[in-house]
Symmetry: C2
Subunit: 379 residues, 2 copies
């Protein structure tokens, strides 16, 4: 089967690029003495998870309990659910634990610790728990010197049914960096915050075997992982325009794209209309505030080579508008885009674009589709 024979819009995954991206990150993290715990929130696909785990032992990170179910059913038992636990989900967590999963949850409040202790006791299971740390003011977590950290640690330690496994942080503000030096700064902050929390817990007589940090930008540019035991990252497998805009990868590394058909021309406006709108590309405009605004994506030929200056300037539910970047005129080389022809579009944000599709059309440098890999979505 050729890519040209697939109904558009459809998701295309370059296996060779995926493989190289995975190897590069494993090497980078391994060189600094830490272990990678790949985040499957981007790929949500067992074939990709197996590739990500091929060069290293150990578990994975997930962003939903649906992912936890799916990967557990496909044989991955060591799972970290890296979103602060909601009490309504604890029955589900206990159920997976009873079935044999080692499912670690995270939290940053006494209320959550109390709810977890109660439910774990009720179900007769022991749940591994990590305390979420706010190392950069980004989102959730306990700040490193807040006495609440040790209070939560004590509560977890004292519960017969909970196991204090360690601390975890995510320097999400690194996504807004303008320079590599800034990313390195966030990488250092992330490490220091987590390590300081681990020390605070240990000084209080509490165990803290795991110190977990990570994001794709900070992992890529980390210089030091001393006392860090694991690194979480996910989008590095596919990369995307947002990561390229951060200089975390190059455009050539992007493994994910959306194939689209040309369904119309508006020549006076300099527009090519395709059948890949925001439903196929996602509404994510993550490059809007970067140095180069890529619209809804960069337009490539079917071999994945970008057309100079051509982006998806606007997107409706099932229509995308391809045009020259603002200021570059209306002559976009019409001979490249006859009606019925196809293009590939590199997305701003691989996590968001992937989520609009239920399968990957896997290729490896040619138009031959060498596999259909399913992925899960939603809740």
């Amino acid at each position: 089967m050729k890519l040209f024979e697939m109904e558009t819009p459809c998701l295309v995954l370059e296996k060779g690029k995926l493989q190289r991206n995975i190897e590069r990150m494993c090497t980078q993290v391994g060189q600094l003495g830490a272990r990678l715990r790949p985040h499957l929130k981007t790929a949500k696909c067992i074939e990709v998870a197996r590739m990500a785990l091929a060069t290293q032992s150990g578990g994975i990170t997930v962003s939903t309990l649906k992912e936890a179910d799916y990967f557990f059913e496909h044989g991955i038992t060591d799972l970290l659910y890296a979103v602060g636990i909601a009490s309504i989900k604890l029955d589900h967590v206990a159920e997976l634990t009873k079935r044999g999963a080692t499912l670690t949850i995270i939290l940053d409040s006494l209320e959550q610790a109390q709810a977890a202790a109660h439910k774990a006791q009720m179900h007769g299971v022991t749940l591994p728990v990590m305390i979420e740390i706010d190392s950069d003011g980004h989102r959730s977590g306990v700040t490193p010197d807040d006495p609440l950290l040790v209070e939560i640690g004590r509560m977890l330690h004292q519960s017969e049914h909970l196991q204090l496994k360690g601390v975890l942080t995510h320097a999400g503000d690194s996504y807004g960096c303008k320079t590599i030096a800034e990313i390195q700064h966030f990488s250092a902050i992330e490490r220091e915050g987590a390590v300081r929390c681990a020390e605070n817990l240990r000084q209080a007589g509490l165990a803290c075997p795991t110190v977990s940090v990570g994001s794709t930008p900070t992992a890529t540019y980390a210089m030091d992982y001393a006392d860090v035991t694991e690194v979480r990252a996910g989008v590095y497998m596919f990369y995307d325009l947002k990561m390229a805009g951060l200089d975390v990868c190059s455009i050539e590394d992007l493994a994910l794209s959306v194939a689209a058909s040309v369904i119309g021309h508006q020549r006076q406006k300099g527009w090519v209309i395709t059948d890949a709108g925001w439903m196929a590309l996602s509404s994510d405009r993550g490059t809007a505030k970067q140095k180069i605004d890529q619209g809804y994506g960069v337009v490539c030929d079917m071999e994945g080579r970008p057309y100079q200056g051509l982006i998806v300037v606007d997107a409706y539910q099932e229509h995308g508008i391809i045009a020259k970047r603002p200021g570059l005129g209306k002559e976009l080389g019409w001979h490249n885009f006859p009606i019925g022809s196809m293009v590939r579009i590199l997305p701003n944000h691989a996590c968001a674009t992937g989520a609009m599709h239920d399968r990957y059309h896997v290729v490896d440098g040619t138009a031959e589709v060498i596999g259909i890999w399913h992925r899960i979505n939603g809740y």
Copy 2:
């Protein structure tokens, strides 16, 4: 089952509001002498389709061939696929036609007409075809006085395997209107463009039985549908914050919301963290350019009553940040949001938010879940 017992985030649909919204639009369009052809691109759910068709006979509009398959398999045979046809999809269209669907396609070029004629002949089927008109410069379509209109009409008429069914337009620019008068203007433009095209075709000796127009804003405020035979609209079933911002509905009419759990507090920042991020709400920021920017959604209690001044100010993949609107301070009534409690969030754009979920938790004015309705997504 109560809403409080469902794992969050999950999609909530108010059946009574849905029913009232459907009745109101049917009445509005019917009063002007036209027939509604409901667009199922928003709901993608057979139960909703049946409600939308209950008060009138006739077919539906769909935005993907996957929707066409799904609704056909559930007994709806009169389908309009309202996205310019890509040649790669014609085998699929012919297949559905052979199975008994009356699947109308649309196009705006001779190349598409040629491809359709070729494939219809190859498969031995007759395909109904409409010509897409650009009535407001919005996106696709032939402008009303372009001689191409009659050329396409002739090609369709001459093909033994195509049936020229009529003309179709969508005044998509109405979504950007600032006043009701502006929407009325777009509604008039939409009607006039389509009717003029129908006349141009008829003057050339071609049949044009169907004159199809529509969008939720223009249908809501249409004053005249003389010579229009059908009106397409979809989001009116659920409405959303964007439609409320256009004064097409009130906030109280919104039938769709996302239930979320409170998973953290950042009191110094005035933030409540929930487990509904952009993966649950979508990345759609459709109210960003309206008079009132609603962030990623309006926060309500579990009965669906908005909390004054509280919106989702930021969203990550699985985290949403609830805070006061900019300028209203950090005191957000913490007693309403204990950790583990739940809220409901009204979305910017029902089509986009719905697409992140595979089912509706149907309620009717109380927290009792009276049904689980499945929906389809993707391609």
